[in-house]
Amino acid sequence: MDLIYLGFKQAFIMIFKGDRLVFEIALRSLIVSGTAVAISMIIGISLGLTIALARFPGRRVLLSLVNTGMGLPPTAVGLFVALLLARRGLFGFAELLYTKQAMIVAQTVIATPIVAGLTVAAVQNLNPKLRLQSLALGATRAQMLWTLIKEAKLPMLAAVMAGFGGVISEVGAVMMVGGNVTGDTQVLTTAVVEYVGKGNFPVAIALSLILLTLIFLVNFVLTQVQQRETSSWPKRISK
């Protein structure tokens, strides 16, 4: 009991005094996961729009693959990315294993299907007449796409947030490809594992609290988006 009480007390002191070690690790987590999500946003939204709007052979197979990918086990992704980036691996020449770039690659692989899958769902949930209507009103293809994106932007924002929440709390992949190198590739999740290993519970608790706060923020925004969606029905009909 003492351990827990003292741990939390010291953790709060560290957070509110702006402990350098704790914030450097938190910052690194944000940078790595933020970059990974930014990249997967570009790939995932384009892929999602293509699957939702275009009709081409193999589309259903691709969609099934994306849906499977939404539940990719991070540890497996970590293993394969690590094998590819290892010195004797296919991309060994780049010497990327145990770097932040490697972690970004792994997290992008994890987040992209999530963003793509949720984008497909978001666009397909739009009224199908919207597309025809905008074309009928003389919109070009690009203008029609833009209208659809604008209509689905909130669910798509939710998709991006879900991707971010998924990768920032993930530990298996970043541990394997990043190696948890102190001051270089150590992020919130791997640092918690290490500091528990060192028996340093206050730092571990402080890092966990920051992680929880980040996840809460993500879900707070997600909830706002979802609530707005349902409450805005009458407004949209009156449009």
Binding site: L3, L27, R28, L30, I31, G34, T35, A38, A86, R87, R88, G92, F93, E95, L97, Y98, L154, L157, V160, M161, G179, N180, V181, T182, D184, T185, E194, V196, G197, K198, G199, F201, L217, V221, Q224, V225, Q227, R228
Partner: protein, 300 residues
């Protein structure tokens, strides 16, 4: 509400981007600074990064947090420490995925050298293993002089025993003792954790089990545990660490950084580093965690 959500997202993205740029810039600056510093002292081999494959015990005790920055400052060579079990560390060496190894499993190390993978293997330091267990001591082993006898009693009474089961140096040592006793540990009492030493100690703590641990991790974790020391200072419980450099002849056309790896090996057996090892933890613990061994240097 929509605007709130959107602006929040925008803020988050912007913050992450800004921080990213700032972080990179800062790192670049710091690198430059350390470069110019070291240039005046000793010219570095080259601005290089090496991968040190080592065991969880050296990292979890905090020893490397002291040694690595000192080495980096002195040589300008950056060290990436990958802390895994000794078994995996040695396999990383065999595959040329690491540049230098700091490990503790005599038999496996000798096999590695015999296979021609290693160029030099030198004694760095030692501590020892201890058998710890619950204060209730169901197997009645407390104070025994012989580790073998204690293990026999634990197996006979089928008292809970937590095993690393991860091919680490500690696991190999434990397995060696069972083997010497011709016991095949199996059954509900033999708990395989498959994790590091600190995690295994916590499992032992929760399950009221005995476990074999290196003294360093034990001393660091002790305040968080309700376990007691059972058996110590028996000869089979010694735990020597070696530093191994890789053999360039075996790894032709590979990306292994032999020279930089060698500098780390030379450095860790130097008088300065040995002093740091001997002094490590003196202020915090009643006994030293590691004892430097480099006077006993054996090179192959």
């Amino acid at each position: 509400m929509k605007n709130l959500a959107l602006s929040l997202l925008a803020l988050l993205t912007l913050a992450a981007l800004l921080l990213g740029v700032a972080g990179c810039a800062k790192e670049a600056k710091e690198e430059k600074r350390s470069e110019s510093k070291t240039a005046t002292e000793t010219p570095p081999v080259k601005k290089e990064t090496i991968i040190l494959a080592t065991t969880t015990s050296t990292k979890d005790t905090g020893l490397l947090d002291v040694l690595i920055p000192a080495f980096e400052k002195e040589t300008g060579i950056k060290v990436k420490t990958v802390a895994v079990g000794t078994g995996e560390a040695i396999k990383m060496g065999e595959r040329g995925e690491a540049d230098v190894l700091l490990v503790h499993a005599k038999k496996t190390e000798e096999k590695f050298m015999a296979g021609g993978y290693g160029e030099t293997r030198r004694a760095v330091m030692h501590n020892d293993f201890v058998l710890v267990g619950p204060s209730s001591d169901p197997a009645g082993v407390k104070g025994l002089k012989s580790a073998n006898e204690a293990f026999q009693k634990i197996a006979d009474s089928a008292s809970n025993f937590a095993s690393r089961n991860d091919e680490s140096g500690t696991h190999k040592k434990e397995f060696g003792i069972w083997e010497a006793l011709i016991i095949k540990p199996e059954g509900g009492w033999y708990i395989k954790t498959g994790s590091g030493m600190a995690a295994t100690l916590r499992v032992a703590n929760e399950k009221q089990a005995y476990t074999l641990t290196d003294r360093g991790t034990w001393l660091v974790q002790k305040p968080n545990l309700q376990l007691e020391l059972m058996v110590e200072k028996d000869k089979p419980l010694s735990n020597p660490y070696s530093v191994i450099t890789l053999n360039p002849a075996k790894f032709e056309n590979s990306r292994v950084k032999f020279e930089a790896g060698k500098r780390f090996a030379d450095w860790i057996v130097s008088a300065d580093a040995q002093k740091m090892i001997n002094d490590f933890g003196k202020d915090k613990y009643p006994e030293p965690l590691f004892t430097g061994d480099s006077t006993l240097t054996t090179s192959k």
